[in-house]
Symmetry: C2
Subunit: 199 residues, 2 copies
């Protein structure tokens, strides 16, 4: 069976960087953005649209005449979100079948349960997440600490809801992971070689 | 400054074994039982007594005549528990000053805050903790799963209360640790060399 590593991560914790570096260190395939491209290809939805609805919960758009039209087929948003989730789960399983790999986000730890993935969660305290977000790019630089904090909380709230909706577990609960790494006082690239030794 | 590693652990998770093996791998001093012996030596209390009151909260033994005798000096149990905690904190700080070391339990992560210790928490699911307890010794072998589970829950409840009383933090909250290791699917001695590479 292939070795699968899944990475859950708080926004701004450096989890994505950690996943990418770990895959390079191990010579494993790395899947993140690639999953979106593949969903877009298979569903004929645009990548931008897939990204927008990818980590959202299905939304019911209740029809006005409930008696006549309360079917999922008249809820296009609900349908598409479910299609994206199901397609995503299928793609993740195919990737796990193909080779050793690192998969970031997308409930991969839950979707791939049968493959017994090594489940890592990356997190940090708010101060260091703000610092990391600011270092990331020019867009974030323009935001103040308060705005960045709000953005971080909003993204993580969405991730938590999404994870809890599809898995029934609390997002970030350490019992659902094999290793939880707090990057507050760590430099991501310095810890990767040690963690890679676990595999 | 010396390198300090503190280990918090759930009962039956293999945290103590992990700490001991990590100290051996790194050539660091290891403190666990040694702390009890040192407290006993300094306070003239027996080791057995120190062990019995070591991880308990101070208990008030309310006097009958509150108006006349409500002073801590008439509460010998409270006094001794506080003395043991304070002596323990002093000894832990001395150990941290002496050399690189691994310290198991005893709120060392909190006591040694100023030394910026690397804080590890070791945990596991209930099933694997029961299995580990059973493998540990002949005494536990006699207990059924239900009794072992009760014992594990009781010990951890005591640890949680103790930790929360002295530190004001929730015991096992991942934000208070740099690394949380779930030993449910791991063999402790196999992961030690990789984790040691972090130092």
């Amino acid at each position: 069976m292939n070795r699968i590593i899944t990475i859950g991560r708080e926004f701004g914790s450096g989890g994505r960087e950690f996943g990418r570096r770990l895959s390079e260190e191990l010579g494993f395939a790395y899947y993140d953005q690639e999953i979106i491209s593949e969903i877009a290809r298979r569903t004929s939805l645009s990548e931008q649209y897939v990204r927008a609805i990818e980590e959202h919960l299905p939304m019911f758009s209740f029809p006005i005449h409930i008696g006549r039209s309360f079917y999922s087929s008249v809820n296009p948003t609900f349908d598409q979100t479910m299609i994206v989730y199901q397609e995503q789960a299928r793609i993740i399983a195919e990737m796990a079948e193909k080779s050793d790999c690192v998969i970031v986000g997308r409930c991969a730890d839950f979707v791939l349960k049968a493959y017994q993935p090594f489940r890592i969660f990356v997190y940090a305290d708010m101060e260091s997440k703000i610092r990391r977000c600011r270092e990331k790019g020019p867009e974030e630089e323009k935001l103040g600490d308060k705005e960045l904090k709000q953005q971080i909380l909003a993204v993580d709230k969405k991730r938590a809801r999404y994870y809890e909706y599809y898995t029934g577990h609390f997002w970030g609960d350490k019992l659902n992971f094999d290793l939880c790494i707090n990057t507050t006082r760590m430099v991501v690239k310095e810890i990767v070689p040690a963690i890679a030794k676990l595999f």
